[in-house]
Subunit: 219 residues, 2 copies
Protein backbone atom coordinates (compact mmCIF):
# COMPACT_ATOMS: atom_id res chain seq x y z
CA UNK A 1 0.00 0.00 0.00
CA UNK A 2 1.08 3.48 -0.82
CA UNK A 3 0.90 5.87 2.12
CA UNK A 4 -0.50 8.76 0.10
CA UNK A 5 -2.62 7.22 -2.64
CA UNK A 6 -5.48 4.81 -1.95
CA UNK A 7 -5.44 1.31 -3.43
CA UNK A 8 -7.96 0.99 -6.25
CA UNK A 9 -9.67 -2.29 -7.06
CA UNK A 10 -11.04 -2.57 -10.60
CA UNK A 11 -13.87 -5.09 -10.71
CA UNK A 12 -14.15 -6.59 -14.17
CA UNK A 13 -10.70 -5.11 -14.49
CA UNK A 14 -9.57 -7.20 -17.45
CA UNK A 15 -12.05 -5.55 -19.81
CA UNK A 16 -11.31 -2.59 -22.07
CA UNK A 17 -12.36 0.14 -19.65
CA UNK A 18 -10.82 -1.59 -16.63
CA UNK A 19 -7.41 -2.09 -18.22
CA UNK A 20 -7.52 1.43 -19.68
CA UNK A 21 -8.12 3.04 -16.30
CA UNK A 22 -5.61 0.67 -14.66
CA UNK A 23 -2.87 1.71 -17.09
CA UNK A 24 -3.39 5.37 -16.36
CA UNK A 25 -3.72 4.99 -12.59
CA UNK A 26 -0.66 2.76 -12.24
CA UNK A 27 1.28 5.35 -14.24
CA UNK A 28 0.04 7.97 -11.76
CA UNK A 29 1.34 5.87 -8.85
CA UNK A 30 -1.87 4.32 -7.51
CA UNK A 31 -1.67 0.77 -6.15
CA UNK A 32 -3.98 -1.27 -8.39
CA UNK A 33 -5.78 -4.55 -7.86
CA UNK A 34 -7.43 -6.03 -10.93
CA UNK A 35 -10.44 -8.22 -10.27
CA UNK A 36 -11.92 -10.77 -12.65
CA UNK A 37 -14.07 -13.87 -12.52
CA UNK A 38 -10.78 -15.74 -12.93
CA UNK A 39 -7.98 -14.78 -10.53
CA UNK A 40 -5.46 -16.27 -12.97
CA UNK A 41 -6.67 -14.09 -15.81
CA UNK A 42 -6.56 -11.05 -13.51
CA UNK A 43 -2.99 -11.88 -12.48
CA UNK A 44 -1.94 -12.14 -16.12
CA UNK A 45 -3.46 -8.74 -16.93
CA UNK A 46 -1.90 -7.21 -13.81
CA UNK A 47 1.55 -8.44 -14.88
CA UNK A 48 1.23 -6.32 -18.03
CA UNK A 49 0.82 -3.11 -16.01
CA UNK A 50 3.92 -1.17 -15.10
CA UNK A 51 3.90 1.34 -12.28
CA UNK A 52 5.71 2.47 -9.17
CA UNK A 53 3.70 -0.12 -7.26
CA UNK A 54 3.26 -3.64 -8.67
CA UNK A 55 -0.35 -4.36 -9.64
CA UNK A 56 -2.05 -7.51 -8.40
CA UNK A 57 -4.77 -9.72 -9.86
CA UNK A 58 -7.43 -11.46 -7.79
CA UNK A 59 -10.95 -12.74 -8.20
CA UNK A 60 -13.59 -10.00 -8.03
CA UNK A 61 -14.60 -10.52 -4.39
CA UNK A 62 -11.00 -10.67 -3.16
CA UNK A 63 -10.11 -7.62 -5.25
CA UNK A 64 -13.02 -5.66 -3.77
CA UNK A 65 -11.82 -6.69 -0.31
CA UNK A 66 -8.26 -5.52 -1.03
CA UNK A 67 -9.19 -2.14 -2.52
CA UNK A 68 -9.83 1.05 -0.56
CA UNK A 69 -11.78 2.42 -3.51
CA UNK A 70 -13.69 -0.09 -5.66
CA UNK A 71 -14.33 0.73 -9.32
CA UNK A 72 -16.93 -1.37 -11.13
CA UNK A 73 -16.29 -1.80 -14.87
CA UNK A 74 -18.55 -4.66 -15.93
CA UNK A 75 -21.10 -5.12 -18.70
CA UNK A 76 -24.65 -4.23 -17.73
CA UNK A 77 -25.68 -7.86 -18.24
CA UNK A 78 -23.40 -8.92 -15.34
CA UNK A 79 -23.99 -5.87 -13.16
CA UNK A 80 -26.40 -7.25 -10.58
CA UNK A 81 -24.62 -10.58 -10.27
CA UNK A 82 -21.23 -8.97 -9.69
CA UNK A 83 -22.59 -6.41 -7.23
CA UNK A 84 -23.91 -9.34 -5.21
CA UNK A 85 -20.44 -10.94 -5.27
CA UNK A 86 -18.75 -7.83 -3.85
CA UNK A 87 -21.44 -6.46 -1.55
CA UNK A 88 -19.88 -7.67 1.69
CA UNK A 89 -16.39 -6.63 0.62
CA UNK A 90 -17.37 -3.02 -0.15
CA UNK A 91 -18.88 -2.24 3.26
CA UNK A 92 -17.88 1.28 4.25
CA UNK A 93 -16.12 1.93 0.95
CA UNK A 94 -16.52 4.27 -1.98
CA UNK A 95 -17.78 2.36 -5.05
CA UNK A 96 -17.30 4.05 -8.41
CA UNK A 97 -19.78 2.62 -10.87
CA UNK A 98 -18.96 3.12 -14.56
CA UNK A 99 -21.76 0.89 -15.81
CA UNK A 100 -23.83 1.98 -18.79
CA UNK A 101 -27.17 0.21 -19.32
CA UNK A 102 -26.42 -0.98 -22.85
CA UNK A 103 -28.83 -3.68 -23.93
CA UNK A 104 -27.49 -5.51 -27.00
CA UNK A 105 -28.12 -5.66 -29.84
CA UNK A 106 -29.53 -2.12 -29.85
CA UNK A 107 -26.67 -0.42 -28.05
CA UNK A 108 -27.10 2.88 -29.91
CA UNK A 109 -30.61 3.24 -28.50
CA UNK A 110 -31.20 4.66 -25.02
CA UNK A 111 -32.85 1.97 -22.90
CA UNK A 112 -32.99 2.78 -19.21
CA UNK A 113 -33.30 0.27 -16.38
CA UNK A 114 -36.37 0.51 -14.09
CA UNK A 115 -34.41 2.76 -11.69
CA UNK A 116 -33.60 5.14 -14.64
CA UNK A 117 -29.86 4.72 -13.91
CA UNK A 118 -27.51 1.76 -13.48
CA UNK A 119 -25.75 3.64 -10.66
CA UNK A 120 -28.98 4.19 -8.75
CA UNK A 121 -29.72 0.49 -9.24
CA UNK A 122 -26.27 -0.30 -7.81
CA UNK A 123 -26.80 1.89 -4.75
CA UNK A 124 -30.14 0.17 -4.16
CA UNK A 125 -28.55 -3.27 -4.57
CA UNK A 126 -25.64 -2.51 -2.23
CA UNK A 127 -27.80 -0.68 0.29
CA UNK A 128 -26.31 1.61 2.92
CA UNK A 129 -23.13 -0.41 3.20
CA UNK A 130 -21.38 1.45 0.38
CA UNK A 131 -21.35 4.96 -1.11
CA UNK A 132 -21.85 4.82 -4.87
CA UNK A 133 -20.50 7.49 -7.22
CA UNK A 134 -21.06 7.24 -10.99
CA UNK A 135 -18.46 8.36 -13.54
CA UNK A 136 -16.42 7.50 -16.65
CA UNK A 137 -19.47 6.68 -18.81
CA UNK A 138 -18.46 8.62 -21.89
CA UNK A 139 -14.71 8.11 -22.22
CA UNK A 140 -13.51 5.80 -24.98
CA UNK A 141 -11.78 2.82 -23.35
CA UNK A 142 -9.40 2.35 -26.26
CA UNK A 143 -8.14 5.91 -25.88
CA UNK A 144 -7.39 5.33 -22.18
CA UNK A 145 -5.17 2.45 -23.16
CA UNK A 146 -2.91 4.68 -25.26
CA UNK A 147 -0.61 7.47 -24.17
CA UNK A 148 -2.67 10.18 -25.75
CA UNK A 149 -4.52 13.29 -24.65
CA UNK A 150 -8.26 12.61 -24.49
CA UNK A 151 -10.70 15.34 -25.47
CA UNK A 152 -13.48 14.30 -23.10
CA UNK A 153 -14.81 15.44 -19.73
CA UNK A 154 -15.86 13.09 -16.96
CA UNK A 155 -19.11 14.05 -15.26
CA UNK A 156 -19.15 12.74 -11.70
CA UNK A 157 -22.42 12.01 -9.91
CA UNK A 158 -22.96 11.23 -6.25
CA UNK A 159 -24.96 12.30 -3.25
CA UNK A 160 -21.85 13.27 -1.24
CA UNK A 161 -19.72 16.19 -2.43
CA UNK A 162 -16.50 14.85 -0.89
CA UNK A 163 -16.93 11.49 -2.59
CA UNK A 164 -17.43 13.31 -5.89
CA UNK A 165 -14.24 15.26 -5.26
CA UNK A 166 -12.34 12.01 -4.67
CA UNK A 167 -13.50 10.72 -8.04
CA UNK A 168 -12.78 14.04 -9.76
CA UNK A 169 -9.18 13.58 -8.53
CA UNK A 170 -9.17 10.06 -10.02
CA UNK A 171 -10.33 11.48 -13.35
CA UNK A 172 -7.51 14.02 -13.24
CA UNK A 173 -5.02 11.26 -12.42
CA UNK A 174 -6.22 9.51 -15.59
CA UNK A 175 -5.61 12.67 -17.62
CA UNK A 176 -9.23 13.76 -17.83
CA UNK A 177 -11.14 16.75 -16.52
CA UNK A 178 -13.64 15.67 -13.87
CA UNK A 179 -16.67 17.85 -13.12
CA UNK A 180 -19.40 17.82 -10.49
CA UNK A 181 -22.56 16.53 -12.17
CA UNK A 182 -24.82 16.61 -9.12
CA UNK A 183 -26.68 13.84 -7.28
CA UNK A 184 -26.37 10.16 -8.17
CA UNK A 185 -29.76 10.23 -9.90
CA UNK A 186 -28.30 12.62 -12.50
CA UNK A 187 -26.13 9.77 -13.77
CA UNK A 188 -29.03 9.02 -16.13
CA UNK A 189 -27.78 11.84 -18.37
CA UNK A 190 -24.34 10.43 -19.17
CA UNK A 191 -25.44 6.79 -19.03
CA UNK A 192 -27.98 7.64 -21.74
CA UNK A 193 -25.47 9.78 -23.62
CA UNK A 194 -23.22 6.76 -24.13
CA UNK A 195 -25.77 5.20 -26.47
CA UNK A 196 -25.97 8.51 -28.34
CA UNK A 197 -22.16 8.57 -28.68
CA UNK A 198 -22.14 4.98 -29.99
CA UNK A 199 -24.63 6.09 -32.62
CA UNK A 200 -22.53 9.16 -33.46
CA UNK A 201 -19.47 6.93 -33.91
CA UNK A 202 -21.44 4.96 -36.49
CA UNK A 203 -23.13 7.90 -38.22
CA UNK A 204 -20.00 10.03 -38.52
CA UNK A 205 -17.61 7.09 -38.98
CA UNK A 206 -15.34 7.92 -36.04
CA UNK A 207 -14.22 5.71 -33.20
CA UNK A 208 -14.17 7.76 -30.05
CA UNK A 209 -16.74 10.56 -29.86
CA UNK A 210 -16.83 12.18 -26.43
CA UNK A 211 -18.23 15.25 -24.69
CA UNK A 212 -16.95 18.52 -23.35
CA UNK A 213 -18.83 20.85 -21.10
CA UNK A 214 -18.46 24.38 -22.45
CA UNK A 215 -18.93 27.74 -20.77
CA UNK A 216 -16.75 27.03 -17.73
CA UNK A 217 -13.02 27.59 -17.43
CA UNK A 218 -11.01 24.74 -18.92
CA UNK A 219 -9.31 22.73 -16.14
CA UNK B 1 -44.39 33.04 -47.27
CA UNK B 2 -40.88 32.71 -48.56
CA UNK B 3 -40.56 30.41 -51.55
CA UNK B 4 -37.32 28.83 -50.37
CA UNK B 5 -37.47 28.78 -46.59
CA UNK B 6 -40.35 27.20 -44.68
CA UNK B 7 -42.44 29.28 -42.28
CA UNK B 8 -41.65 28.40 -38.67
CA UNK B 9 -44.24 28.69 -35.91
CA UNK B 10 -42.85 29.02 -32.41
CA UNK B 11 -45.37 27.79 -29.87
CA UNK B 12 -44.80 29.46 -26.52
CA UNK B 13 -42.76 31.78 -28.66
CA UNK B 14 -42.72 34.73 -26.28
CA UNK B 15 -40.54 32.87 -23.77
CA UNK B 16 -36.75 33.05 -23.54
CA UNK B 17 -35.99 30.12 -25.84
CA UNK B 18 -38.76 31.00 -28.31
CA UNK B 19 -37.68 34.62 -28.73
CA UNK B 20 -34.02 33.58 -28.88
CA UNK B 21 -34.63 31.13 -31.73
CA UNK B 22 -36.98 33.59 -33.43
CA UNK B 23 -34.32 36.31 -33.43
CA UNK B 24 -31.79 34.05 -35.10
CA UNK B 25 -34.19 32.54 -37.61
CA UNK B 26 -35.64 35.89 -38.68
CA UNK B 27 -32.07 37.11 -39.18
CA UNK B 28 -31.47 34.05 -41.38
CA UNK B 29 -34.52 34.94 -43.48
CA UNK B 30 -37.11 32.46 -42.23
CA UNK B 31 -40.73 33.63 -42.04
CA UNK B 32 -41.63 33.44 -38.35
CA UNK B 33 -44.95 33.17 -36.55
CA UNK B 34 -44.84 33.58 -32.80
CA UNK B 35 -47.54 31.78 -30.87
CA UNK B 36 -48.65 32.55 -27.34
CA UNK B 37 -51.68 32.04 -25.13
CA UNK B 38 -52.39 35.69 -25.88
CA UNK B 39 -52.37 36.71 -29.53
CA UNK B 40 -51.83 40.33 -28.48
CA UNK B 41 -48.72 39.43 -26.50
CA UNK B 42 -47.44 37.37 -29.44
CA UNK B 43 -48.00 40.29 -31.82
CA UNK B 44 -46.07 42.63 -29.51
CA UNK B 45 -43.12 40.22 -29.36
CA UNK B 46 -43.24 39.71 -33.13
CA UNK B 47 -43.05 43.47 -33.69
CA UNK B 48 -39.67 43.47 -31.94
CA UNK B 49 -38.19 41.01 -34.44
CA UNK B 50 -36.50 42.38 -37.51
CA UNK B 51 -35.94 40.25 -40.57
CA UNK B 52 -36.35 40.12 -44.32
CA UNK B 53 -39.89 38.87 -43.73
CA UNK B 54 -42.10 40.53 -41.12
CA UNK B 55 -42.83 38.21 -38.19
CA UNK B 56 -46.41 37.69 -37.05
CA UNK B 57 -47.94 36.94 -33.67
CA UNK B 58 -51.00 34.72 -33.16
CA UNK B 59 -52.48 32.52 -30.49
CA UNK B 60 -50.82 29.12 -30.22
CA UNK B 61 -53.37 27.13 -32.24
CA UNK B 62 -53.47 29.71 -35.04
CA UNK B 63 -49.68 29.93 -35.09
CA UNK B 64 -49.41 26.14 -35.37
CA UNK B 65 -51.88 26.30 -38.25
CA UNK B 66 -49.86 28.99 -40.04
CA UNK B 67 -46.45 27.33 -39.67
CA UNK B 68 -44.99 24.72 -42.00
CA UNK B 69 -42.65 23.63 -39.22
CA UNK B 70 -43.93 23.92 -35.64
CA UNK B 71 -41.41 24.41 -32.84
CA UNK B 72 -42.65 23.85 -29.29
CA UNK B 73 -40.89 25.95 -26.64
CA UNK B 74 -43.09 25.69 -23.56
CA UNK B 75 -42.47 24.82 -19.91
CA UNK B 76 -42.90 21.15 -19.08
CA UNK B 77 -45.82 22.04 -16.80
CA UNK B 78 -47.82 23.29 -19.82
CA UNK B 79 -46.59 20.69 -22.30
CA UNK B 80 -49.55 18.33 -22.46
CA UNK B 81 -52.14 21.10 -22.40
CA UNK B 82 -50.49 23.00 -25.25
CA UNK B 83 -49.95 19.87 -27.34
CA UNK B 84 -53.68 19.28 -27.08
CA UNK B 85 -54.33 22.85 -28.29
CA UNK B 86 -52.21 22.38 -31.42
CA UNK B 87 -52.82 18.73 -32.25
CA UNK B 88 -55.26 19.31 -35.09
CA UNK B 89 -53.19 22.15 -36.55
CA UNK B 90 -49.98 20.09 -36.77
CA UNK B 91 -51.45 17.25 -38.83
CA UNK B 92 -48.87 16.19 -41.43
CA UNK B 93 -46.23 18.60 -40.10
CA UNK B 94 -42.82 18.37 -38.54
CA UNK B 95 -43.00 19.28 -34.84
CA UNK B 96 -39.72 20.20 -33.17
CA UNK B 97 -40.03 19.68 -29.43
CA UNK B 98 -37.48 21.52 -27.27
CA UNK B 99 -39.17 20.64 -23.99
CA UNK B 100 -37.06 19.57 -21.04
CA UNK B 101 -38.86 17.78 -18.19
CA UNK B 102 -37.83 20.22 -15.47
CA UNK B 103 -39.91 19.79 -12.34
CA UNK B 104 -39.53 22.81 -10.05
CA UNK B 105 -38.23 23.40 -7.49
CA UNK B 106 -35.57 20.75 -8.05
CA UNK B 107 -34.63 21.72 -11.59
CA UNK B 108 -30.99 20.63 -11.18
CA UNK B 109 -32.09 17.06 -10.50
CA UNK B 110 -32.89 14.68 -13.35
CA UNK B 111 -36.55 13.68 -13.08
CA UNK B 112 -37.88 11.83 -16.10
CA UNK B 113 -41.52 11.59 -17.15
CA UNK B 114 -43.12 8.12 -17.32
CA UNK B 115 -42.18 7.88 -21.03
CA UNK B 116 -38.50 8.63 -20.11
CA UNK B 117 -38.53 11.61 -22.50
CA UNK B 118 -40.77 14.65 -23.01
CA UNK B 119 -40.41 14.26 -26.78
CA UNK B 120 -41.57 10.64 -26.70
CA UNK B 121 -44.51 11.79 -24.58
CA UNK B 122 -45.27 14.45 -27.20
CA UNK B 123 -45.21 11.94 -30.05
CA UNK B 124 -47.57 9.71 -28.07
CA UNK B 125 -49.89 12.62 -27.33
CA UNK B 126 -49.98 13.83 -30.96
CA UNK B 127 -50.21 10.32 -32.39
CA UNK B 128 -49.45 9.61 -36.03
CA UNK B 129 -50.70 12.98 -37.16
CA UNK B 130 -47.32 14.67 -36.68
CA UNK B 131 -43.61 13.75 -36.86
CA UNK B 132 -41.81 14.80 -33.70
CA UNK B 133 -38.11 15.66 -33.63
CA UNK B 134 -36.40 16.71 -30.39
CA UNK B 135 -33.63 19.31 -30.26
CA UNK B 136 -32.30 22.53 -28.66
CA UNK B 137 -32.39 21.17 -25.09
CA UNK B 138 -28.94 22.31 -24.02
CA UNK B 139 -28.50 25.72 -25.58
CA UNK B 140 -28.69 28.73 -23.28
CA UNK B 141 -31.71 30.83 -24.33
CA UNK B 142 -30.09 34.07 -23.23
CA UNK B 143 -27.13 33.46 -25.54
CA UNK B 144 -29.45 32.94 -28.50
CA UNK B 145 -30.88 36.38 -27.87
CA UNK B 146 -27.51 38.05 -28.32
CA UNK B 147 -25.37 38.37 -31.42
CA UNK B 148 -22.65 36.09 -30.14
CA UNK B 149 -21.04 32.82 -31.14
CA UNK B 150 -22.39 29.98 -28.99
CA UNK B 151 -20.05 27.18 -27.98
CA UNK B 152 -22.70 24.44 -27.90
CA UNK B 153 -23.81 21.60 -30.15
CA UNK B 154 -27.43 20.70 -30.81
CA UNK B 155 -28.14 16.97 -30.73
CA UNK B 156 -31.14 16.19 -32.91
CA UNK B 157 -33.31 13.14 -32.25
CA UNK B 158 -36.01 11.67 -34.44
CA UNK B 159 -37.10 8.45 -36.03
CA UNK B 160 -36.80 9.83 -39.59
CA UNK B 161 -33.36 10.78 -40.92
CA UNK B 162 -34.69 13.45 -43.31
CA UNK B 163 -36.63 15.15 -40.54
CA UNK B 164 -33.47 15.21 -38.44
CA UNK B 165 -31.60 16.78 -41.36
CA UNK B 166 -34.25 19.49 -41.63
CA UNK B 167 -33.72 20.35 -37.96
CA UNK B 168 -29.92 20.17 -38.29
CA UNK B 169 -30.29 22.86 -40.96
CA UNK B 170 -32.40 24.93 -38.54
CA UNK B 171 -29.66 24.62 -35.92
CA UNK B 172 -27.10 25.82 -38.45
CA UNK B 173 -29.35 28.73 -39.39
CA UNK B 174 -29.32 29.67 -35.70
CA UNK B 175 -25.52 29.60 -35.65
CA UNK B 176 -25.18 26.21 -33.96
CA UNK B 177 -23.77 22.88 -35.05
CA UNK B 178 -26.53 20.28 -35.29
CA UNK B 179 -25.72 16.58 -35.07
CA UNK B 180 -27.66 13.36 -35.58
CA UNK B 181 -28.39 11.93 -32.13
CA UNK B 182 -30.38 8.90 -33.26
CA UNK B 183 -33.99 7.88 -32.63
CA UNK B 184 -36.49 10.03 -30.77
CA UNK B 185 -36.13 7.85 -27.65
CA UNK B 186 -32.50 9.00 -27.35
CA UNK B 187 -33.77 12.47 -26.50
CA UNK B 188 -33.66 11.30 -22.88
CA UNK B 189 -29.91 11.95 -22.90
CA UNK B 190 -30.01 15.68 -23.60
CA UNK B 191 -33.28 16.28 -21.78
CA UNK B 192 -31.60 14.83 -18.68
CA UNK B 193 -28.37 16.68 -19.39
CA UNK B 194 -30.15 20.03 -19.09
CA UNK B 195 -30.66 19.46 -15.37
CA UNK B 196 -26.97 18.58 -15.08
CA UNK B 197 -26.04 21.82 -16.88
CA UNK B 198 -28.28 23.86 -14.57
CA UNK B 199 -26.41 22.30 -11.64
CA UNK B 200 -23.06 23.04 -13.29
CA UNK B 201 -24.08 26.68 -13.76
CA UNK B 202 -24.68 26.86 -10.00
CA UNK B 203 -21.65 24.85 -8.89
CA UNK B 204 -19.16 26.64 -11.14
CA UNK B 205 -20.90 30.03 -10.97
CA UNK B 206 -21.35 30.45 -14.71
CA UNK B 207 -24.49 31.25 -16.65
CA UNK B 208 -24.47 29.26 -19.83
CA UNK B 209 -22.75 25.87 -19.63
CA UNK B 210 -23.28 23.84 -22.79
CA UNK B 211 -21.95 20.74 -24.51
CA UNK B 212 -19.72 19.88 -27.41
CA UNK B 213 -19.37 16.48 -29.00
CA UNK B 214 -15.67 15.79 -29.47
CA UNK B 215 -13.87 13.35 -31.75
CA UNK B 216 -15.69 14.30 -34.94
CA UNK B 217 -14.72 17.02 -37.39
CA UNK B 218 -15.92 20.45 -36.31
CA UNK B 219 -18.73 21.63 -38.57
Amino acid sequence: MNGALPAIALIGGTGDLGTGLARRWTAAGYPIILGSRSAAKAAEAAALLSGAVRARGLDNAAAAQAGEIVVVTVPFGSHTEILDQIRDAVAGKLVVDTTVPLMPPRVARVQLPPEDSAAVAAQKRLGDRARVVAAFHNVAALKLQKDMAIDCDVLVFGDDVKDRETVIALAQAAGLRGLHGGPLANSTATEALTSVLIGINRTYKVDGAGIRITGIAQG
